[in-house]
């Protein structure tokens, strides 16, 4: 539990959320904007990309516990033959919700957490292009997540949970075969999550294209920025496809349409195509952010620049492109013709090439580096090692004839947990450790971090390694139980034990957060400094935690790894030496005169409206209609809301706030003298460091 014991700069504080006069109420009623930056209400109404990022992360971790608990139930049920821990009906709900939760409510929002927090910082921007929309994305996501998760509880334990598998093949998900509300929750929930992700994708794309600090050309952007950008493009183009599929399904279920009604002549393969046209890009949506994170961590702890930057970027783009041409590899046995199978089989295999380029470049970065195996580095190297296993089994699936033996067995389950857990999740956890000091001003304990890593890694391999064997021995996936004489007992037991080992590792992560925070506070909140890892990206060039306004002034970027090159130069003999102390280069966050977009009530109100519409569609269309009216009202509220709080401090809007352009030239938008006399930083509990605002 090593916490850097720096000089004590501030008195101890409690973690309790300050209940102070955070939001001042002013006479304009709902058309004023809330104000202030502390207290829980300031989080509800925030439009700050960093806070939104943190909320995404927190929500994702919460859902990770939910999805993980579901995984543990799966493993308990399968631990022994003829298991009877949960019945077949519940089991179907559990594994479906596990898959849906992990994919849509854990990995995607975790990636969104990093995208929100880091994208603007890495390109040197003050915020995203549309801060209010950004907040809306989060609340919309949360609405969708809560709606989906509530399906576990409404009407009885797992009575109305989706139970058609995460890819919900028609016609099994039709009303006839799945009469509970489960699939409605699935369709509506994913639809809402889709809106959230789509809005956020547009927002982030515009941010990267348009909000870069001077000199930040595309090929000076960090690889993480690139990977996140590609991810947003994948989302942008993939989400509409599943939107179509989900609409068709909803129409079938709600209004008796015929899209998947075989009796009326429908072909169920339509669903499969639409789902996987979305679904395969989706898996790269899951992995690319982690690839980006690994590309940040490994150079830092190898003390070398990333090997083959341009190739890393290009391979990311190539993966993004190729990801569109392989979807039918999920349908090798479903009866598409042999030509399709051949084409998709071959196209799938070649995705290994750009991915291999990444793996090898990471290894080359480590080659002759000065490797320090801190916790983030452990995770990053863990990704290199574990993802490769999953990738290789992926290539064996791509061999279509043999996939007819593998598909829908635990061999597939092994594959995708290796790439998702061993790739995406490990990467994202590495990201937590790496950027934690940036977001909160202190490091997580290295000792606990490493211990937790090893426990997770070992548990992970014991859980999913044996699944390769189980699959090849013929164990089908999605079976609630298996016969004793099928010979699956041993490795299932091992896998179950492994899963509980993972759970211990996960618990250690949360414990780490707790003790590290406590120790840091006990130590008087020592300042970790802007650049605790001696890193390279612009995000390290400002104080930790990042002040509300990000940078004190715009940075003029003159090359890739600008920050690093400001720190280090070469002497006459070409040796790398320090050019300037970090403290001179990094901003200290003291410029409090940057005007920031005001908080807003409307994003969360809109999120609430969407929740209402969602439940309405599932239970009662009148409620949905009411929700729609509410929603439209809220949209007008959003539009009519002044760009700025008239009473707020500061003068100039540093950038566009909104999509509608309504903020320009608002007659009384440029507020007069600050009524409350506070700027964001003046209100923080700890004027010295500004940490409290973000930590609390």
């Amino acid at each position: 539990m090593t916490v850097t014991d720096r000089t004590i700069t501030a008195p101890e504080e409690t973690l309790a959320l300050p209940a102070g006069p955070a939001i001042a109420h002013r006479p304009l009623g709902i058309f004023t904007r809330p104000q202030g930056s502390e207290g829980w209400r300031s989080w509800l109404f925030t439009v700050d990309h960093k806070r939104i990022g943190i909320m995404y992360g927190a929500a994702a971790l919460f859902f990770f516990l939910v999805g993980g608990a579901e995984a543990l139930f799966i493993r308990l049920q399968l631990a022994t033959p003829n298991g009877s821990v949960i019945g077949a009906g519940t089991y179907n709900g559990v594994f479906t919700m596990h898959g849906v939760t992990m994919v849509f409510l854990v990995i995607m929002p975790m990636a969104a957490a990093f995208a929100n927090y880091l994208l603007p910082l890495q390109v040197g921007a003050r915020d995203v292009a549309f801060p209010r929309l950004n907040a809306f994305s989060f609340w919309c996501f949360l609405a969708g997540g809560l709606l989906l998760t509530s399906s576990i509880l409404v009407g009885g334990w797992f009575q109305n949970a989706p139970d058609g598998g995460w890819f919900a093949y028609a016609p099994n998900t039709g009303l006839l075969f799945s009469p509970s509300k489960g699939i409605d929750f699935y369709a509506v929930g994913l639809q809402i999550l889709g809106i959230a992700s789509l809005v956020s994708a547009i927002n982030l794309i515009v941010t990267v294209l348009n909000m870069r600090t001077p000199g930040m050309s595309f090929f000076r952007m960090p690889v993480l920025t690139w990977m996140l950008l590609i991810t947003q493009f994948l989302l942008l183009f993939a989400l509409p496809v599943i939107t179509v599929a989900l609409f068709l399904l909803m129409f079938d279920r709600l209004w008796d349409a015929n899209f998947f009604n075989v009796e009326a002549g429908a072909d169920p393969l339509l669903w499969q195509h639409l789902f996987w046209i979305f679904g395969h890009p989706e898996v790269y949506i899951l992995i690319l952010p982690a690839f980006g994170i690994v590309s940040e961590i490994i150079p830092t702890f190898s003390r070398k620049p990333l090997f083959g930057y341009h190739f890393m970027v290009a391979s990311g783009i190539a993966i993004g492109f190729m990801g569109w041409g392989v979807w039918a590899h999920h349908m090798f046995t479903s009866g598409v013709g042999p030509l399709s199978v051949a084409a998709f089989s071959v196209s799938t295999m070649f995705i290994a090439v750009p991915t291999g380029v990444k793996i090898l470049n990471w290894l080359a970065t480590m080659y002759r580096g000065r490797l320090r195996f801190t916790t983030p580095m452990l995770y990053a190297v863990g990704v290199v090692s574990m993802f490769t296993i999953g990738g290789l089994s992926g290539v064996t699936h791509a061999i279509a004839p043999s996939d007819t033996q593998q598909t829908d067995t635990y061999y597939i389950v092994a594959h995708f947990h290796y790439v998702i857990f061993g790739g995406a999740l490990l990467g994202l956890f590495g990201g937590f450790y790496y950027w934690w000091p940036k977001a909160f001003g202190y490091k997580l304990s290295e000792a606990w971090g490493k211990a937790s890593f090893w426990v997770m890694l070992i548990g992970f391999n014991f859980t999913f390694g044996p699944m390769h064997i189980l699959g090849l021995q013929g164990m089908s996936r999605r079976i609630a139980t298996y016969r004793a004489d099928e010979g699956f007992a041993l490795w299932n037991m091992v896998a179950t034990i492994g899963a509980f080992v993972i759970a211990v590792g996960v618990a250690m992560f949360f414990w780490n957060v707790y003790v590290s925070t406590r120790n840091w506070r006990r130590a008087g909140r020592p300042d970790v400094g802007p650049d605790p890892w001696d890193a390279r990206g612009l995000e390290w060039m400002t104080a930790s935690p990042v002040p509300e306004h990000n940078f004190d002034e715009d940075i003029q970027v003159d090359r890739l790894d600008h920050f690093w090159h400001r720190k280090y130069g070469k002497d006459e003999s070409g040796r790398v030496v320090r050019a300037a102390p970090t403290s001179e280069i990094a901003h200290d966050g003291s410029n409090t005169n940057v005007h920031l977009p005001s908080p807003s009530y409307w994003p969360i109100v809109l999120g609430g409206g969407i929740l209402l519409v969602g439940y309405g569609i599932i239970y009662n269309l009148w409620l949905a209609a009411a929700g729609l009216v509410f929603l439209i009202g809220a949209i007008y509220g959003w539009i009519l809301e002044p760009a700025d709080d008239p009473d707020a401090a500061g003068h100039h809007d540093d950038h566009h706030d909104d999509d509608d352009g309504d903020d320009h030239g608002d007659p009384d938008g440029n507020g007069g003298p600050s009524g409350n006399g506070e700027s964001a930083s003046a209100e923080t509990e700890e004027p010295e460091t500004e940490e409290a605002a973000t930590v609390g």
């Binding site: 348009n210 008796d256 950038h655 004027p687």
Partner: protein
């Protein structure tokens, strides 16, 4: 630093809205969004193309219900609303607020005519025996054209909102871009109909 409010030193770069590409965020966002919409309508159109023939010999099919002259007229109306939309944009760019209002109104009216035509068409089809649930052709047809109709309706609502803003003096030339952006949406909805009209109505069945 102390606990008092820090001094407000003005930022030297003023609140000028400059972006890396020189393009406005809003417009860029709209184009990005339209790129995404291509996949949405593409999916619906393919669903239609895939399903329209999957009906029994005695089922109500396209040839039984389509009234090409009627739809041609309403398609033409929508097409022309694009022209009036362009006028709305160029008038506000010139500072001609009155003209802007006139053209916004015309565009919305043409759009509404189109939607009304669609409503009429739907009821006519329904009375001829083609409901949403009748067969795959029905489901796919109504889903596709209904989605498009919803898009047009949203466009009309946005145009009307612009109009109200204009009446209240909130839509000056400095907001020409807002009109332009909504215009982009409007044109997109129009080009989607260009595709739908050809593929759904005019293709030999």
């Amino acid at each position: 630093m102390t606990a008092e409010a820090p001094a407000h030193t003005p930022e030297h770069h003023d609140g000028e809205h400059h972006t890396s590409t020189g393009l406005s965020n809003e417009k860029l966002a709209m184009w990005v969004f339209l790129g995404s919409e291509c996949l949405l309508f593409g999916g619906l159109i393919s669903t239609y193309m895939f399903n329209k023939g999957r009906i029994g010999p005695d089922d109500v099919g396209p040839n039984d219900v389509f009234d090409i002259p009627f739809t041609s007229v309403s398609s033409f109306v929508l097409l022309m609303s694009s022209l009036t939309m362009v006028f709305a944009v160029s008038s506000i760019a010139r500072g001609d607020l009155r003209g802007n209002r006139i053209w916004l109104t015309t565009t919305a009216a043409l759009g509404a005519t189109f939607v009304a035509g669609q409503v009429y068409e739907f009821t006519a089809f329904y009375s001829e025996g083609l409901g949403f649930t009748t067969n795959l052709f029905g489901s796919a047809f109504y889903a596709l054209t209904g989605f498009h109709g919803a898009h047009v309706t949203i466009g009309i609502v946005m145009l009307m909102s612009l109009l109200v803003m204009s009446m209240r003096g909130n839509l000056g030339p400095e907001r020409a871009e807002t009109v332009e952006i909504i215009g982009l949406y409007w044109h997109f909805v129009d080009i989607v109909w260009i595709v739908i009209f050809t593929i759904v109505y005019l293709f030999p069945q």
